[in-house]
């Protein structure tokens, strides 16, 4: 059987591969930035911006747009790639990432970059801000959805649980948190640094509805995000992912949280991603 959605999935899968290649090339070129956590949320951001979110790239401040908060702000490179491909700003901006004078800051900056709805960087604040946005939308009688992407290490921050409690109390509707659950943070695995086991039960105990899914499967993400959006409770999608996904020697390695990509590593990574670095 061949469906229109199958073709869409193939297109978006190809886009993800392209963005992985561009990410590796970009981070190699600028010799700074976070590869691991960017690669793990590639399909999540792609599904959001290309299939789920109601946005107008030509009018980034459109009042009725869906909001997105990248609470794990260090994944900014993948968000910038996604926004550029979606048409929020020219691809030519990308090589300026993290350089002085750029509109693409090391962590998301709402007053410099079209399409960034909230400045982030210090971890543990994004869910609170997203809740404020969702409540404002409800007060205004607007119909937008507020999406927020959390890192799994990030939920060690106490503020996340303050926000989780408040979301249950004020229950704005149309608030979906997505957990990029790759199991690895800067200093090691979650288990080594600070265990966050039984995540679903923790959030359920805080009154959230929890939706597990494969965070690298676009069809599964699309279907799960839609169900989460329809929930009457605050909704958490636990997206099972792999840190460094797509590049074998980066996968699951905390060392690749924020390591510069050398020439040799870039070459190996691109070969794995099916690009002949020496061609052209």
């Amino acid at each position: 059987m061949y469906h229109a959605t199958d073709q869409r999935d193939q297109e978006l899968g190809t886009l993800c591969r392209t963005m992985r290649v561009e990410l590796i090339e970009l981070l190699h070129q600028i010799q700074t930035g976070h590869p691991g956590g960017s690669l793990s949320c590639c399909e999540i951001l792609t599904t959001l911006y290309f299939d789920c979110m109601n946005v107008r790239p030509e009018q980034p401040d459109w009042d009725d747009r869906d909001r997105f908060v990248l609470s794990k702000g260090h994944a900014a490179p993948m968000l910038y790639l996604t926004l550029a491909h979606r048409g929020f700003f020219p691809m030519e901006w990308l090589p300026t990432l993290r350089q002085y004078g750029s509109r693409l800051q090391g962590h998301p900056c709402a007053h410099k970059t079209p399409g960034i709805d909230c400045s982030t960087g210090p971890l543990g604040l994004g869910l609170s801000a997203a809740l404020g946005m969702a409540l404002a939308g409800r007060l205004n009688g607007q119909d937008y959805t507020t999406w927020v992407l959390l890192g799994d290490g990030e939920i060690q921050e106490g503020g996340v649980w303050e926000a989780a409690m408040s979301a249950r109390k004020f229950n704005p509707g149309r608030l979906v948190a997505i957990l990029d659950h790759n199991g690895v943070q800067l200093d090691g695995t979650n288990a080594e640094v600070m265990p966050i086991d039984r995540i679903a039960e923790r959030w359920q105990a805080f009154g959230w509805e929890v939706f597990p899914c494969d965070g690298h499967s676009i069809p599964e993400l699309r279907e799960t995000l839609a169900r989460a959006k329809a929930s009457d409770s605050p909704a958490l999608v636990i997206a099972g992912t792999v840190k460094g996904k797509g590049v074998s020697f980066m996968e699951g390695q905390s060392a690749w949280h924020g390591k510069p990509v050398s020439k040799e590593d870039c070459h190996r990574a691109l070969q794995e991603l099916g690009v002949d670095h020496n061609a052209g």
Binding site: D63, R67, C109, A110, H111, D117, C118, S119, T120, G121, P122, G124, L125, G126, S128, A129, A130, L131, G132, M133, A134, L135, A136, G137, L139, N140, G158, G159, E162, A163, M165, S166, K169, F170
Partner: protein
Amino acid sequence: MPDKVSIRDVYGAALKKLGEQEERVVVLEADVGGSTKSAVFGKAFPDRYFNVGIAELNMAAMAAGFAYAGKIPFVNTFSVFLTTRASDPISSMIAYDHLNVKLCGAYSGLSDAYDGASHHGIFDLAYVRSLPGMTVLSVCDPVETEKAVFAAAEIEGPVYLRLSRAEAPKLYPENMVFTPGKGILLREGADVSILATGLMVHHALEAANRLQAEGISARVVDLHTIQPVDRELVLESAEKTGCVVTAEEHSIRGGLGSAVAEVLAQGRPTIQEFVGLDSYTESGAYGTLLSAYHLDAQTIAEKARIAVQRKKP
């Protein structure tokens, strides 16, 4: 002595009045609404009132979210907790993106007297004054308090409004003009300028009376805006009197005294004496604490005499 009025009662009433006029105002509170009087707004507008419980960081970051979506959030808790527990989103979101958030620091200075050092708000100005684009207001009487609430809502961008738990006599007529960034000359004088903020303004006026009896003519200024401080008025005062005393219910480091010293150092190096705190504090009756920590008319007058003396060759 004129009747004293509760600053926080005036604040609560002003917030409610503002809520009637401005639909975009939402109010956030961290379980001290009965103390800050934000609950007065909450009773009138339950749909626009968000008591987040004892979670100041979440409160400030939620306020950022409201502001990103076009609301005008007023954020309430004690000044000490607002500027410590919630300092992260205040810096990384609210000030960084110049969001339209109004941070209302209640119980500032020593006004939560009996609760002791943990509840005294004496370092708040140093923090908020370091944030680019943050307007910092500090009011001294009921009329100024109400005007400041409305002025804060008018300002496009982040504002810190410093409030006291204490009662204060009415100093200003109802028709006074409150302009953020413009200090108020309360009394002309030739020998020394006393630049005060918050409730210390009343002590400054009393000190000026005492000094007059000894033949020292003191100029008194209410610097209700600490950022941006009224540079012109500070320089004019220094020019006219040749020495200044700053008076504040705050650490002598980082608050009004520092703001004035920065202006003078660049514009007109001038003899300056500081009235403020230089230590941690203890529990006690408010009046007792003000005397114990030298935040009173007697100390201001003493520092004024020293400043005048220092002018002599």
